[in-house]
């Protein structure tokens, strides 16, 4: 029922006033771009915080050059412990919820899902618009905590109570504002998730069966399912935390020692990680999908084992909800639970290695083109390979007794969440930029951006794991406080230097984006010769997307078909070729 009627309805009511077109737009493409700019802003904001954190770890208690005197005049330009804790709290919160989530799920979820499944728009366009503006409001709330006299939240992105409750000794309102911002963000994410799921289930064009959807849509779809299931869990936890923080309930407050009040700090950790572990898959699933698709496009070869990849990704989704306990091995959980969580966690390596092998299988006997999106997609193979494998240490109960809460964990999850997810996002941005903004990003700057980022990001995160194995625990303001960490100060300095270069290469990327957008030359409709539906529409794509409902005949990866002579690809809805094929 819905699709055609919905489509015509959108076309009719659509008026091109400035506000409805650019600000309160209900067009999924505009909302996608809004999420894109929001995510990009916060990516650089969170990145700047990372640079300052690295300064403090590489050059402890030395004045920050250039901006230090201006930012913290009272401390002579030195970052003090309070500020340091606030910075890593905001860095984690911003990167996960305000940079990656808007970029991958907000921007590409919005932009790609309707276009790739042949829908005129999202199932609930108004909800989509409200989702973005709720996210925007959440951003303002989060940033407003920078104006508080006692600063922002500083309990870490996990904000475990009792530290994050009034009993924890963090002064001021920062922690409360953090909770409110996260609840709003969760509401925005829920609206998006419901929308994406409904759109994929209800609005696929005729012939677009589940196993004909591009793997990018699979990744985004599965991520949305996880969001819809688990965001309510963290929302409940956050509301309880907010009540603890504001009206004095004691959900997570246990009083001193081993007796006293009835609350339980561990309850929050369970609630947090029941959401928190699926959350890391929420962030990485779109990357897996996008990488699978891009490897196929630039190898000019069908994605190897498409169905296996889709099913493996779905299996990971199912398993991801059963492994949260591996974040809590050192909390004193029962041995039986610890063993069960270890076993379930390790099970994930079976489906993961299957789709990982499929990535290599796609390259095998392909015809590999080294365009910028491909470089980043192959970069994902490298960094996700390392990130995934190093997860084994943390899944092992015994090794984790030593490695938990050290820089090893930090290095590991930055390999998966920062390196893999950022490379996946960059691949997506370089690939779909021509469709989003009509112009292709400069390939030369893109390649410099890739190689610069690839070398520096590996150095930084690999050596974070090295310092962690050497014992350096995380979230410490000054590692030189400890004798056993003194031998690491040289390495910490090097990590900082490489991190700065990593930051500088990202400015190259930003300049590339700004320069390309301001440049007027439009590029062709399908510059990568890709098969999926979004490449069949002209830029700028009108509200409603397709002139007529596309009918889908083929899977998303029909490259190098031997039965076509004049080109090496076949669009998902190319009718002429179908006739030829059927005769």
């Amino acid at each position: 029922m819905g699709m055609d009627m919905e489509g015509t309805k959108i076309m009719k009511i659509h008026k091109d006033s400035f506000w409805s077109k650019h600000i309160f737009s209900e067009d999924h493409k505009t909302i996608g771009k809004q999420f894109f700019w929001l995510g990009l802003f916060f990516l650089f904001f969170g990145g700047a915080l990372a640079m300052l954190l690295r300064w403090q770890l590489g050059y402890p208690e030395q004045p920050v050059p250039i901006i230090g005197k201006w930012m913290w005049p009272d401390d002579g330009g030195i970052i003090n412990p309070d500020i340091f804790n606030q910075m890593f709290t905001m860095h984690g919160t911003i990167m996960i919820f305000w940079a990656i989530t808007p970029l991958l799920i907000g921007a590409f979820g919005n932009f790609l899902i309707p276009l790739q499944i042949g829908a005129p728009d999202m199932a609930f366009p108004k909800l989509n618009m409200i989702s973005f503006w709720t996210m925007f409001l959440a951003s303002l709330v989060l940033l407003s905590s920078y104006m508080l006299p006692l600063g922002t939240a500083s309990g870490g992105w996990t904000s475990y109570p009792p530290l994050s409750s009034p009993a924890g000794g963090i002064p001021g309102l920062g922690q409360t504002i953090w909770t409110i911002a996260l609840i709003l963000m969760g509401a925005a994410t829920m609206m998006g998730a419901i929308n994406y799921i409904t759109t994929v289930v209800r609005l696929r064009a005729p012939g677009m069966f589940y196993f004909k959807m591009p793997l990018s849509v699979w990744g985004l779809f599965l991520a949305s399912i996880l969001n819809a299931v688990f965001v309510p869990v963290i929302a409940a936890g956050l509301v309880m935390l907010l009540l603890d923080q504001t009206i004095g309930t004691e959900f997570f407050i246990a009083g001193r020692l081993a007796s006293g009040d009835p609350g339980d700090p561990l309850l929050f950790q369970h609630v947090f990680w029941i959401f928190g572990h699926p959350e890391v898959y929420i962030l990485i699933l779109p990357v897996w999908g996008i990488t699978s698709d891009l490897l196929s496009v630039f190898s000019r070869k069908p994605a190897y084992g498409y169905k296996v990849t889709a099913i493996a990704m779905s299996t990971v989704v199912a398993l991801s909800s059963l492994v949260w306990g591996h974040h809590m091995y050192t909390t004193g959980m029962s041995p039986l639970l610890g063993k069960s969580f270890m076993f379930l966690t390790l099970l994930i390596s079976i489906p993961s290695s299957m789709f990982f092998l499929n990535w290599l299988g796609t390259l095998w006997r392909g015809s590999i083109h080294f365009d910028t999106p491909m470089l980043f997609a192959m970069g994902v193979i490298w960094v996700f390979g390392l990130g995934g494998l190093t997860g084994l240490y943390n899944a092992t109960v015994t090794a984790d007794i030593y490695l938990h809460d050290t820089m090893f964990v930090v290095g590991h999850f930055h390999y998966t969440l920062a390196a893999s997810v950022m490379f996946g996002s960059f691949a997506a941005i370089y690939f779909w930029f021509p469709k989003m903004f009509g112009r292709a990003l400069d390939p030369f700057i893109g390649k410099v951006h890739f190689w610069g980022s690839f070398i520096t990001i590996n150095y930084v995160f690999f050596n974070m794991m090295v310092t962690g194995y050497a014992g350096q625990h995380r979230r410490i303001y000054n590692p030189t406080e400890y004798d056993f960490l003194k031998p690491l100060s040289g390495l910490n300095e090097w990590i900082t230097i490489f991190a700065f270069f990593l930051g500088i290469f990202q400015f190259l990327f930003l300049l590339n984006i700004l320069w390309t957008i301001s440049r007027s030359k439009l590029c062709e409709k399908n510059p990568w010769k890709a098969t999926t539906l979004e490449w069949t529409v002209n830029y700028p794509i009108p509200h409603g997307n397709f002139d007529e409902v596309p009918i889908i005949y083929y899977g998303p990866h029909e490259y190098s078909r031997p039965d076509i002579k004049d080109k090496d690809w076949l669009g998902q809805n190319e009718l002429m070729e179908v006739k030829k094929w059927q005769m």
């Binding site: 009792p162 994605a303 190897y304 006997r365 007794i401 050497a470 990866h557």
Partner: protein
Amino acid sequence: MNKPRVMRQLSNRWKTMIHAGIWFKDPPKDVSLDGYRIDSVIQYTDLVIGIYFGIVVVALIYFIYAYRSSLGNGAVYDHGDKKKNVIVTGGLGLLVFCSVDVVIETIAFRDLREAFWNFPKGENVLRIEVLPQQFAWNFRYAGPDNEFGTSDDIIPTQNHMHIPENTPVVVQMASWDVIHSFYLPNFRIKQDATPGMITALWFQATQRGVFDIACAELCGNGHYKMKGYLTVESKENFDNWLIENAPELPDDDWDDWDDAGEDTGIPEEWGWTWKELK
């Protein structure tokens, strides 16, 4: 005239810098009975994931080289979805699982059973209660009556823990305020201390010396300097140290009790009855 010396210093500085930047760092010296178990499971994991990642890298580089489009060979139209492809992928997935995950799991479960979750019992065992607070460590020894929470408990100076060498030590902990984590890098262990519950770990020192105690769970702005010292010494020295730290016989007035004159912000009677582990 001085130039060569300056150059030499510069190049030495560079050598140190480069050495610091590319050399692997050893973990802190292991001085415990069971720390080698952690190191060896980590080394096994290093080895197997090194091999697997090596294979991935070789394959990646070979594919990039052999199937580059500039050769003009074109791609093979293959969906890799035939039964045999799926069997090969699944088989390789299982191979990875069996050669890595299953082995690690077996090692880990054995070590938990034999060491980390196998709490020692008997007369020989030294029991200590640990109560972290923002941002210090409080320790409590049972004293002559072997009971905790009594007036003869021995409470040494904050942040100073002593144990005899080659004696199993069981530590029980709770927390005074927020969650902390009792981290002994030289013993490869840590354990969260959470308000409202008692958690435990055990270890045994094999070498004398003074080692760092660190807090591994973010506990506030003083987290980074919540540092303690663990002294491992001979049995005689340890016994003397206990006697030195024994409380004066208590009067009825608990307030006069603290002869060290140290204000820790928490009452002296914080100890709890030792929780027997099953």
